[in-house]
């Protein structure tokens, strides 16, 4: 028996949660003596008011889509992958290696190679925590967090000591060859006659992220593997009854999760920076958790939530640029959104359920 209609649960609840977080953010801005209306105006016009703003919004959204999907797939197996940050870091290493050391004739092939390498490196970084969880019962939350630090240290070492070109001062690889540069989103949109700003980092990886949303949907709801992952996630005991191998499913779910996180590097490393920098992930692995929570671990929800967080990132940057509101306050706003849309949805859901029950009773 559903307490309220599905549309209310998947649309109304997140929208009201979002509204509450914005109202509280407004109060916080008011309390430091700035105008919330003005702030909102800067954020909306800055992130959505021009194709330039949209370009940045979608660039960030691409990252969050990959990590949001990664967290979602693990969630469906009842695994909490907090290691997307590290998996994306290693994904970046894979992307950088194939871009630097394989002489690609054309960007499309380079893209394919980078996707495969990013996914493989990300999956590999998730493999060990997954194996430890499946075989030894080491908790995946703990191991994946630890692997984030190991990944950061590993990349630091490699960039400083191995991959840094002779005579270069900053810890980064050399620039990738021209042939690996990905087409920007303005070129993609140009093909179908939509004018789009050419000076944004948004690139063709956005389409790959969207395709991944579709693939994850097919995987989870139309394949045997997805069926087994979901069954295992709902009840390990029942899964064993049905002859589903917990070790295999844990490994598969985490490898796919790590691969999705690793593919994020195609957007940042190959698409934007054209070289591998320290900390190119910039917390997107953690934002992915909020995106998955808000998107209810469903690819459509993840895509929408990723765009929302892209908006917050870009709008927040604009806010810091044009107002006296400190950069840190943007983090506060983002935190409030995560808190209300991710962690505290029951705050909205319970009263809403009650209202629907009352309305139904009254209508009879």
């Amino acid at each position: 028996m559903n307490k309220m209609p599905v549309w209310a649960d998947v649309l109304l609840v997140p929208l009201i949660s979002l509204l509450i977080s914005f109202v509280i953010s407004g109060l916080v801005i008011l309390s430091i003596g700035e105008s919330p209306i003005e702030a909102m105006n800067y954020m909306v016009t800055g992130a959505l008011g021009s194709t330039y703003g949209w370009g940045y919004t979608l660039y960030y959204a691409t990252n969050f889509m990959f990590t949001g999907l990664a967290v979602s797939v693990a969630f469906h197996a009842s695994l909490f992958n907090i290691g997307c940050e590290g998996q994306a870091t290693l994904g970046g290493l894979g992307v950088a290696l194939v871009c630097l050391f394989v002489p690609w004739p054309h960007w499309s092939l380079a893209l394919l190679g980078a996707v495969v390498a990013g996914a493989a490196f990300g999956a590999a970084w998730a493999a060990l925590p997954a194996w430890l969880q499946a075989k030894r019962g080491s908790h995946i939350v703990i191991t994946t967090i630890m692997f984030n630090f190991i990944a950061a240290a590993l990349l630091n070492y490699l960039l400083v000591n191995v991959l840094r070109p002779e005579g270069n001062m900053d810890p980064a690889t050399a620039r990738f060859p021209e042939a690996t540069n990905l087409p920007g989103l303005h070129q993609v949109f140009g093909l179908i006659g939509i004018p789009f700003s050419a000076s944004t980092p948004a690139n063709i990886s956005f389409l790959i992220a969207l395709a991944c949303c579709g693939l994850v949907w097919v995987l989870l709801w139309h394949t045997r593997l997805g069926y087994q992952v979901r069954a295992f996630g709902k009840s390990e005991k029942a899964a064993v009854y049905a002859g589903i191998n917990p070790v295999k499913i844990t490994l598969c779910a985490m490898l796919i999760s790590g691969a999705l996180a690793g593919m994020m590097a195609v957007n940042t490393v190959q698409g934007e920076a054209n070289r591998l920098l320290l900390n190119s992930v910039e917390g997107a692995g953690f934002i992915g958790i909020a995106v998955a929570l808000m998107g209810r671990s469903h690819p459509v929800g993840v895509a929408l939530a990723a765009i929302l967080f892209g908006f917050l990132y870009q709008g927040g940057a604009e806010l810091a640029l044009w107002t006296k509101i400190p950069r840190e306050l943007i983090t506060v706003i983002q935190a409030l959104v995560i808190l209300f849309t991710g962690a505290m949805t029951d705050l909205v859901r319970k009263p809403l359920e009650y209202l629907f029950l009352m309305a139904r009773r009254g209508g009879k």
Partner: protein, 521 residues
């Protein structure tokens, strides 16, 4: 409907410990209780019987303050009483013994009894007062429980008595028991009924909710029957029969006895030798069990739950790692390692209806059609191609199975948790039996299942036997074991206590074996 014409005496409202008038309660579109009227005479044991989902539990939850009725009035001892929460129910003198006990396992009996009824800041006064009250109660009603024993050390029967003591300590005058015998041995159940009769003779009023007709007939003074949210009638127990009650519950004639032909056993299908299982703590739960089952035969395993039956089913079903030998149609099956799993067992022709359908047999959040593929998700007819599953084919198959097994509502996309217990079980049974297995493992096939569905499931089991299949039936319901099985084995402490022919054994003999008395005649 009311029992007012007793000896021509004019009944006054105060004659009734409880009178409910026009109680209605809806959950969204589901009308759980519809205009319920019931009057319970003081100093009687009043049975309430009905199928699963008939609204018994909802009605009692309203009486105990868990839900508020949409309409209607509650009269306690003739006084209209508003019961807004369980505190006000307790104040009105109502005590409730739940099916699942609400006891703190690592507290003593005494501590549990005063929990929530402590007086003052220091426990000492309450404890010594409770100790005195408990001693009095023990003397009066055969409620002998050591006040200083830890709950976790007590048998299930004694834990239930602690629940009753809790209610009596709170000065309950009216005691509601929800399916109290589900977890008890026959002897423990008899003891419980003696306690209840003692309480009644002291003037307490008892409401007994159950689906077991025999308990109603043996214990109650009056019985009310519920069907689909309505009260269909209240009768004196002495003036009714199990057949009449069953018919009132279901709304049609019900066959209580299983109609079955003498068995024609064929070749040995399953042969088990020295099967042993240890649990996670290394404790031996199944201790070298050996038996065989032939084609066209039902082997019933009786016993109080927790004596190794679950481990036996899990070892045979490929869930638990075991030692010993399992041979199916003459071929040895792996008992340990990765090869001993549910898939290889199914491939060998073993279907398994697990004891706990909600924890093992179904994914409660999955739709019915997803559950029909559960365990058979590799079946070729459920695949569209090498990559994709054929969800449409599974849905069609689910709809067909739902029609054959009369699952209600017949909606393949409804989540398993939204079906009643009986219909959930029908989904599991349909999934396993329709595979036409050589061996069916079936545990507690009718636990929490309503009478109409029980009759149907029993018929299916017998039909499978008559089709020449082997069946291992595990049940804690002795009646079920005796009416279905061809041969009966009793499990006690992880061992098989004896193998009897169903035709020549009796309840007394099996009862002794269940209690671990070796060599019972």
């Amino acid at each position: 409907m009311a029992l007012t014409s007793d000896g021509g005496r004019q009944a006054t409202a105060a004659l009734f410990a409880i009178a409910l008038k026009g109680i209605s309660k809806a959950f969204g579109p589901v009308q759980a209780n519809r205009d319920i009227n019931i009057e319970v005479l003081r100093g009687t044991i009043h049975g309430i019987i009905g199928e699963n989902g008939a609204g018994k539990s909802t009605l009692m939850s309203i009486l105990y303050g868990f839900y508020r009725a949409d309409a209607g009035q509650i009269f306690i001892n003739g006084q209209q009483t508003a019961i807004t929460d369980s505190q006000s129910a307790i104040r009105a003198g109502i005590g409730m013994v739940f099916q699942h006990f609400k006891l703190v396992q690592n507290f003593t009996v005494l501590e549990n009894v005063i929990l929530g009824a402590e007086e003052g800041g220091l426990l000492k006064t309450s404890l010594s007062k409770a100790r005195k009250v408990l001693t009095d109660l023990a003397r009066e009603y055969e409620l002998e429980v050591n006040p200083d024993a830890l709950i976790e050390d007590l048998s299930v029967g004694h834990q239930q008595q602690v629940e009753i003591l809790k209610a009596l300590y709170r000065q309950a005058d009216i005691l509601i028991l929800d399916e109290p015998t589900g977890v008890l041995t026959p002897a423990e159940a008899d003891h419980l009924f003696r306690i209840l009769k003692g309480l009644r003779d002291q003037g307490k009023t008892i409401i007994l909710i159950t689906h077991k007709l025999r308990e109603i007939m043996e214990t109650t003074d009056n019985v009310s029957v519920m069907r689909r949210g309505t009260m269909v009638g209240t009768v004196k127990t002495a003036e009714t029969s199990p057949e009449e009650l069953a018919e009132l519950m279901v709304g049609r004639k019900v066959l209580l006895e299983v109609d079955k032909q003498p068995r024609v056993p064929g070749k040995v299908v399953l042969s088990v030798e020295h099967l042993g299982v240890r649990d996670g703590d290394g404790v031996e739960r199944l201790k070298g069990v050996s038996f065989e089952i032939r084609a066209g035969e039902i082997l019933g395993i009786a016993g109080v739950s927790g004596n190794g039956q679950s481990e036996l089913l899990e070892a045979l079903g490929g869930i638990a790692r075991a030692t010993g030998r399992i041979s199916m149609n003459g071929v040895d099956l792996p008992v340990t390692g990765a090869a001993a799993n549910g898939q290889t067992r199914r491939a060998a022709g073993i279907a398994h209806v697990p004891e706990d359908r909600q924890a093992l047999g179904l994914i409660m959040d999955f739709a019915a059609w997803e559950n029909v593929a559960f365990g058979y998700h590799h079946a070729p007819e459920y695949q569209k191609n090498a990559l994709l599953m054929d969800n449409a084919a599974i849905r069609a198959d689910t709809e067909a199975k739902m029609a054959t097994f009369d699952v209600r509502p017949p909606i393949a996309t409804l989540a398993a948790k939204n079906f009643s217990g009986g219909n959930q079980q029908k989904i599991v049974v349909a999934r396993e039996i329709e595979r036409n297995p050589d061996l069916l493992l079936i545990g507690q096939p009718t636990r929490g299942v309503d009478i109409g569905a029980i009759e149907y499931i029993h018929k299916q089991i017998v039909a499978l036997r008559d089709a020449g299949k082997a069946i291992l039936l595990v049940s804690v319901e002795l009646d079920e074991i005796m009416s279905l099985s061809d041969r009966i084995a009793v499990m006690f402490d992880g061992r098989l206590m004896g193998l009897r022919d169903a035709d020549t054994t009796n309840e007394r003999e099996l009862g002794l074996l269940m209690a671990g008395v070796e060599g019972a005649a």
